[in-house]
Symmetry: C2
Subunit: 305 residues, 2 copies
C-alpha cells in the first residue's frame, strides 16, 4: 500500500530546560514522514521557501520520502519558535511566521492520486478536504487538528471529520472538540459524528484509543531523559500510519499494534532535539522497543490468574 | 496469610461538581480494609471517638474486618472536609480536625502480632515504625505517605522507608520525596534508599511500578462518571495487598496482577460517594473488571506481529 501525508515542513527554534536549537528541521509532515519511513515509502505534500536548506532535502531523500508533492515557492519557509518548561507536556509558542505557508494550495502530483493510506496533518481543514478531493479511492484516512481550527473553523473541521476514519488528537483538543470534560464521554460524542476510531494522545501519560465497541490504553515509554517533545505527536502518527501501511492489517488487533509502534516512534523522537534521534534509528531498535512495550504492559500472559 | 492495616478511620465531608456528602464514613484504613475484604480478612489498627456511629462499626463487621485493634477513645472522631473541582485528580482540603487522632498510639492486640502482610497507611512515620516494632516477622511491608510527612518528618520517614518492601505513593509525592522532576530518575533514587518496589499512583492516568530491573505501566479504567475520587489511592492499596495476601504469590507476575486488582478497586470506588460503591460489590464484578483490564491493554496476544 502507499502512504500520503500533507502537513507542514518548517524551520523550528526550540528552547527546553536542557538546551536550545535554532532554525532546525521541523514541521508536522517532516516528523510524520521520517517516522513512517522506517516502515514504508511516504509521499509528502507540503510547501517550503527558497531558503529551505538543500541538506534537509537531501536528508528526506535518504529516507526515500517521495518529494514530488513538495512545492518550493518564492519566499521564506514557515518558521515556529517555542519553548518548554520543566513540565514538558505543553509547548509555549513564542512566534509563528507562516511565510510561504500562507499561499499553500496542496496540489497532488498524478503519481500520488492512487494513494491508499492518507494522513491529513494539522493544517486548515479546508486544505485537508482539498487533498481528499484529489485522491481517488483511499482505503483509510486519518487526520490531526488543533485548537486553532476547532475554535476558528469548526464547520469546515466537522466536514473533514465526516470524511475520515481515524482522528488523532491530544486530550485537550478532544475535550474542546466535544465540549465535554470527561474523556470517555467526549470520545463517544466525537465518534458519533463520523470517525470510526479516535486516538487521544496524552503526552507522558500515553494514548487512549476508542472505537464504537472497545477502548485501548497504551502507556508512554518511561524515559529518564526527555530533551525535546517537539514532533512527538507527529512521530506517533507516522509510526502508526507507517506500520498500518506496511502490515496492511486494518483489524482492531492491527490498529492496536500500530498504536504501540506509534508510541515507540514518539518515545525515540523526544530523546533528542529536532529529528536528531529519528534520523539515525534502525528497524531493529524500533522492534526491540516494541517488545519492551510488551514487557511494560503485560500482566496476564506471565501466568494464569 | 494475614493482612494488617494501620491508618485512619474518619468522618468525611466532601463536595464534588456532582454533589455533596456530609460526615460520611471515610479514612485511609476504612477504604483499604473494605477494598481488601473482597480478597482476605483484614486486621485493622486505628482510632475513633465515642461519636463514631454504631452503623459504621456494623458495616465493617459485615465485611469480616477484625476490629480488635480499633481503639475507641473519649472525644470526637477524626474529621476531614474537602472539595474537588472538575479536575478531579486533586482534592482541596478545607478543614482537618484531628480530634482523637492526636492521641493515637497504635497498640497491636496479641492476635495481630503474627501478621505476615502489613500496610502502613498514611500516618506519622513514627507511628508507622511503632506498628512495625510490634509485628513479629512480617513477610511483606508496604507503606503510603504524603507531602506533610515528606516535608515535616523526612528523617523519620526515611527510617520507615528502610524497613518497607513496597512504597505506594502518588506522582507528586514521588517527585517531592526524591527531589527530582523526572519520574524514572525519581524512582531510581527512591529504590536506592531501601524499598524493592515503588508504585506511583497517577489518578486518571493509572499506575507506574518500578523495581530494580523492570517497569510496569497500568492504565486507569476509563470511566464515564467519576463522582468522588476520595479514597481511590487507599482502595488501590487495599485491592493490591488483599490480592497479594489471598494469592500468596509475591513474584513479579503476582505483584503485577495485584496492581491490576488494585486498579479495579480504585475504579469502582470513584463511581460513588464515600464507600457506597465498595460496599455493594461482588467478587464476580471485580473479576469481570479485571478481565476488562486485559482487553483494555492487550495488543500482542491478539495475533502474532
Amino acid at each position: 500500500m502507499s502512504l500520503l501525508v500533507v502537513g507542514t515542513v518548517a524551520l523550528d527554534s526550540v528552547k527546553t530546560p536542557f538546551g536550545e536549537a535554532r532554525d532546525v528541521l521541523g514541521g508536522s509532515a517532516t516528523y510524520f514522514a521520517t517516522a513512517a519511513s522506517y516502515f514504508t515509502r511516504v509521499r509528502l505534500v507540503a510547501v517550503v521557501g527558497r531558503d529551505f536548506p538543500e541538506e534537509h532535502l537531501r536528508f528526506l531523500k535518504t529516507k526515500e520520502i517521495d518529494l514530488a508533492g513538495l512545492q518550493i515557492l518564492e519566499g521564506q519557509t514557515f518558521r515556529w519558535r517555542g519553548e518548554y518548561g520543566f513540565q514538558l507536556n505543553e509547548a509555549r509558542t513564542l512566534e509563528t511566521r507562516l511565510n510561504v505557508l500562507e499561499r499553500f494550495l496542496p496540489i497532488l502530483p498524478a503519481s500520488y492520486r492512487g494513494s491508499e493510506m492518507i494522513f491529513l496533518g494539522n493544517i486548515d481543514p479546508v486544505l485537508q478536504q482539498e487533498v481528499l478531493s484529489q485522491v481517488e479511492k483511499p482505503r483509510l484516512v486519518a487526520c490531526d487538528t488543533m485548537n486553532f481550527w476547532i475554535e476558528g473553523k469548526r464547520d469546515e473541521l466537522e466536514r473533514t471529520l465526516k470524511q475520515v476514519d481515524i482522528v488523532i488528537i491530544n486530550d485537550g483538543e478532544a475535550r474542546e472538540l466535544a465540549d465535554e470534560a470527561n474523556l470517555v464521554t467526549a470520545a463517544k460524542k466525537i465518534l458519533s459524528n463520523g470517525p470510526k476510531t479516535l486516538i487521544i494522545k496524552r503526552g507522558e501519560y500515553g494514548v487512549l484509543m476508542f472505537n464504537e465497541k472497545t477502548a485501548f490504553a497504551a502507556p508512554a515509554y518511561p524515559l529518564e531523559a526527555v530533551f525535546d517533545p517537539t514532533g512527538a505527536g507527529d512521530s506517533f502518527a507516522g509510526g502508526f500510519m507507517g506500520y498500518l501501511t506496511q502490515s496492511g492489517d486494518l483489524s482492531e488487533a492491527g490498529i492496536r499494534r500500530a498504536v504501540i509502534f506509534g508510541s515507540v516512534m514518539a518515545s525515540f523522537n523526544v530523546e533528542s532535539f529536532s529529528l536528531d534521534r529519528l534520523r539515525r534509528l534502525t528497524r531493529r531498535e524500533i522492534d526491540d522497543r516494541y517488545r519492551e512495550f510488551g514487557r511494560l504492559t503485560s500482566f496476564e500472559d506471565l501466568k494464569a490468574i
